[in-house]
């Protein structure tokens, strides 16, 4: 029987990704001088879980790296080895290597074997060098790797060791789980003792410590009796190692300790403590971890959102019908309808919130980047995040990563000054970089703030002149700062490895604008710069203005609308071959007749009979001629392309209260093409 394992790969990869991210986060937060034992345990568990998964799926390279990592971590969390900055660096490097290996397996990406090797070497070196560097108290226990070697003579012809594992009284479920887990390591047979306790006989190539480690997730290792059986005699070496104690002196480990323990006693006592602590943490995590979240594909969520959207429309239809009834005769029906309306609204909100993700998803990748970057540049940066729990639509969160990465990188590179310069300016040597997110009305505001030198007005103006941009010395600051978003604009004197790598500020601005967002800069010379991004909370819903041309209703995203007015016929002027313009407050705007573009029969072709909606996009204004305004409402944006194709001038569609479809105008494209608008032809 062959089971196709590949279907489980994705689950493993997803999980391992999360674990790696978690591990990195914890490592970065770790205080080297006084590490929190719970954090160390969490890091250890992450490494352990990845190792377990990798071994199950046969990714030997991942297993190898995690194994060394795990044993190092194990010793550190037990206090056998002191944590140093060197360790943290090595762990971070191994996290990168693991991520690379994982991508290698997942996408077939190239794997840098030298990097893998060098990390393995680094970890091994730490492993061996460990006891020396560690506190003298840790001298007694041998390095973890050794017991396995000690076991070597006990291996049978297949290289397997034989163990007899007596479990304490635990629930059948735990026994089954353990049996399944241990079964992955080798040949397992089950037995039961007279007092209902289960006994496993296991032939495996893994060491005893691994068995204990696995069991420790389910039960108290101290209550476990593991005996080496098997072909060769149990060679119980006198100075066996820490876990041997478990074998020899089971429940009453502390009392009359046999001779090998004597040396390790002090260490063992403290270890027992940490271990207990760690186990409690495990239990806790296992307890809520399983039930608190489930993994669901985005499609399913989107489908749910669609269905709820439908429900909202149906509910609106019922409301419309009921509105025509006599309220006195149908009082109870109306009450029910009101209740339905409330429930529907709540349901819609709840469902929409599924797509929301905390900003932490984005923020969590920056501490590492800032740390590496600052190290590379020889700067000192203290990185602070605020409002990481602020939620944003998943679609937007994924698209904000790149622009934000660029902004953070920019701040470290250009914003924060070198330590000497900061000292000279009377500031703290370490620069402060704050990444914050907060809700403001229907928007989320994400800010990157540094306390560096601020933007250099003169240099930006000089550079702008050099680039041929229209500038004047009397421009307000806000306008000057916006200049850095012009394409090809970089005030960096030297293009470094860090900055000037292709994505410019213009791309940042374009990306954010494409998401319906706004970028704003505040800067004070000598005390820092804040770049603030304001985004709508979700792309799935937008505030729309319903307009009517002929018999057709279109939707204008409200964000583009400045005002609407009825023009006097004297203000509308024809320009030969260029269409019409309209004078609005001493400004001549291009007039875009929607009926002409979409070939609709209008109520009237005369602009003075219709309504002009003044639109602005990318700094360009134009007046859209429509027949009438219908109203304003929030609409759920639907994709046209999923079943049809892109339509020029249309950015999407939505479903109105009556169940009909209405198209959403692509204002940016309309304005962009307005220059090419001629009297009778229209090409997008």
């Amino acid at each position: 029987m062959t089971i196709d394992m590949s279907q489980f790969y994705q689950v493993f990869f997803d999980e391992a990704d999360e674990l790696l991210a978690e591990m990195e986060k914890l490592l970065l937060a770790l205080d080297v001088s006084a590490p929190d034992s719970e954090d160390l345990n969490a890091i250890f568990r992450a490494a352990h879980s990845i190792k377990g998964g990798a071994a199950t799926f046969g990714f030997a390279d991942i297993t190898e790296v995690t194994h060394v990592l795990e044993s190092l971590l194990d010793r550190i969390r037990k206090g056998e080895m002191a944590l140093t900055a060197e360790h943290v660096d090595a762990f971070l490097a191994s996290k990168d290597v693991l991520a690379m290996l994982m991508n290698g397996h997942r996408h077939g990406e190239a794997v840098d074997h030298d990097a893998v090797l060098s990390v393995s070497k680094r970890l091994n070196a730490l492993q061996e060098g460990g006891p020396v560097a560690a506190a003298p108290a840790a001298a007694a226990p041998r390095p973890e790797a050794e017991p396995a070697e000690k076991h070597a003579p006990m291996a049978d012809a297949d290289g397997n060791f034989h163990f007899r594992i007596e479990l304490p009284a635990v629930s059948q479920k735990d026994v089954d789980a353990l049996a399944a887990e241990l079964g992955l390591m080798g040949a397992l047979t089950r037995d039961a003792l007279s007092d209902q306790r289960a006994v496993f006989n296991l032939a495996t190539s893994e060491s005893q410590e691994t068995i204990v480690a696995i069991c420790a997730f389910v039960l108290d290792p101290d209550a476990l009796t593991i005996t080496s059986t098997g072909p060769s005699a149990p060679a119980a070496a006198p100075d066996y190692g820490l876990y041997e104690q478990v074998q020899q002196a089971q429940p009453a480990a502390d009392a009359a300790a046999p001779e090998p323990v004597a040396k390790a006693e002090a260490a063992a006592a403290s270890v027992g403590e940490t271990r207990n602590y760690g186990r409690r943490a495990t239990d806790k995590e296992g307890g809520n971890g399983e039930s608190s979240s489930i993994r669901v594909s985005v499609e399913k969520v989107d489908q749910l959102i669609n269905l709820v959207g439908e429900l909202v429309i149906t509910q609106a239809m019922i409301d419309q019908r009921i509105g025509a009834l006599d309220p006195l005769l149908h009082e109870r029906l109306m009450n029910s309808a009101n209740q339905l309306a409330r429930n529907t609204r709540d349901l819609q909100e709840a469902v929409m919130s599924i797509r929301m993700m905390p900003m932490d998803y984005v923020f969590s990748r920056f501490p590492r980047m800032v740390r590496d970057l600052a190290g590379k540049l020889g700067k000192k940066v203290e990185f602070v995040t605020r409002g990481a729990a602020t939620e944003l639509d998943k679609g937007l969160i994924e698209r904000i990563v790149d622009p934000l990465t660029h902004l953070v990188r920019n701040s470290v590179d250009h914003g924060v000054e070198m330590p000497e310069k900061r000292r000279a300016a009377g500031k703290n040597e370490a620069g402060r970089l704050i990444l914050s997110a907060a809700h403001q009305g229907g928007n989320i505001v994400i800010e990157v703030t540094d306390d560096g030198g601020g933007l250099d007005r003169e240099r930006i103006l000089a550079k702008a002149r050099q680039n041929g941009l229209p500038v004047s010395d009397t421009m307000p600051d806000a306008d000057v700062w916006q200049l850095i978003f012009a394409p090809g604009f970089s005030t960096a004197e030297v293009v470094t490895d860090v900055s000037g790598r292709g994505v410019g500020m213009d791309v940042v601005k374009r990306n954010i604008t494409a998401m319906g967002g706004v970028v704003d800069i505040r800067s004070v010379p000598g005390s820092g710069t804040t770049i603030s991004i304001s985004l709508p909370l979700t792309l799935a819903i937008l505030d729309g203005m319903l307009i009517k041309v002929g018999e057709e209703i279109y939707i204008l995203p409200l964000g583009y609308v400045i005002e609407s007015l009825q023009p006097a016929s004297v203000d509308v002027k024809e320009i030969a071959g260029q269409g019409k313009v309209v004078k609005v407050r001493e400004e001549y705007l291009q007039l875009i007749p929607l009926w002409q573009i979409f070939a609709i029969e209008p109520k009237s072709a005369d602009p003075s009979q219709g309504i002009l909606v003044i639109l602005e996009s990318e700094g360009k204004k134009a007046a859209l001629l429509v027949d009438s305004l219908v109203g304003q409402q929030q609409v759920v944006v639907k994709n046209l392309e999923s079943n049809f194709r892109k339509v020029a001038g249309i950015s999407g569609a939505t479903i109105l209260g009556d169940g009909g479809v209405s198209l959403i105008l692509d204002v940016a494209a309309l304005l962009r093409s307005s220059r090419q608008l001629n009297a009778d032809t229209m090409c997008f």
Binding site: I3, I597, S642, N643, F644, R645, V647, A653, G660
Partner: protein, 168 residues
Amino acid sequence: MLTLTDTARDQEAEKPSEDAKEYLAFTLGREEYGIDILRVQEIRGYEPVTRIANAPDFIKGVVNLRGTIIPIVDMRIKLNLGEATYDQFTVVIILNIAGRVVGMVVDSVSDVTMLKPEQMRAAPEAGTAFDSDYLIGLGDLGQRMLILVDIDRLMTSAEMGLIEKLAA
């Protein structure tokens, strides 16, 4: 081993359906057409559509099908057959092709028929409103003759303009 037997069983299960296939018969003008029933998602009445500006006239527009927006094409206009009138008897066949949903307006839907290979005739080079590229063949039902249309090819063709072609 498990996968092997499964595949074998699948193949066996498929065999009869390879012999005889079910077709949905519909009429356009005076001709009777057949399309693979497995491509048909549902059959609905005609509802008012939202017109798409500057689209070819056979693309009537888009409608809301339980929350998804789907295009509606009128084959009568496309093929110049019959009268393109819309009343309560007008029928829309909702097709599911290449993961996309599209509605097709026809004159009427008659029935679902099983066609065995021996009932299939080669498609004529000319004589139907369809380009012979989109025909599978003719189905001989004694009194009736079904023109079998390769609906996948037709709906995904550049001619229909329903799907954005990279090269286009």
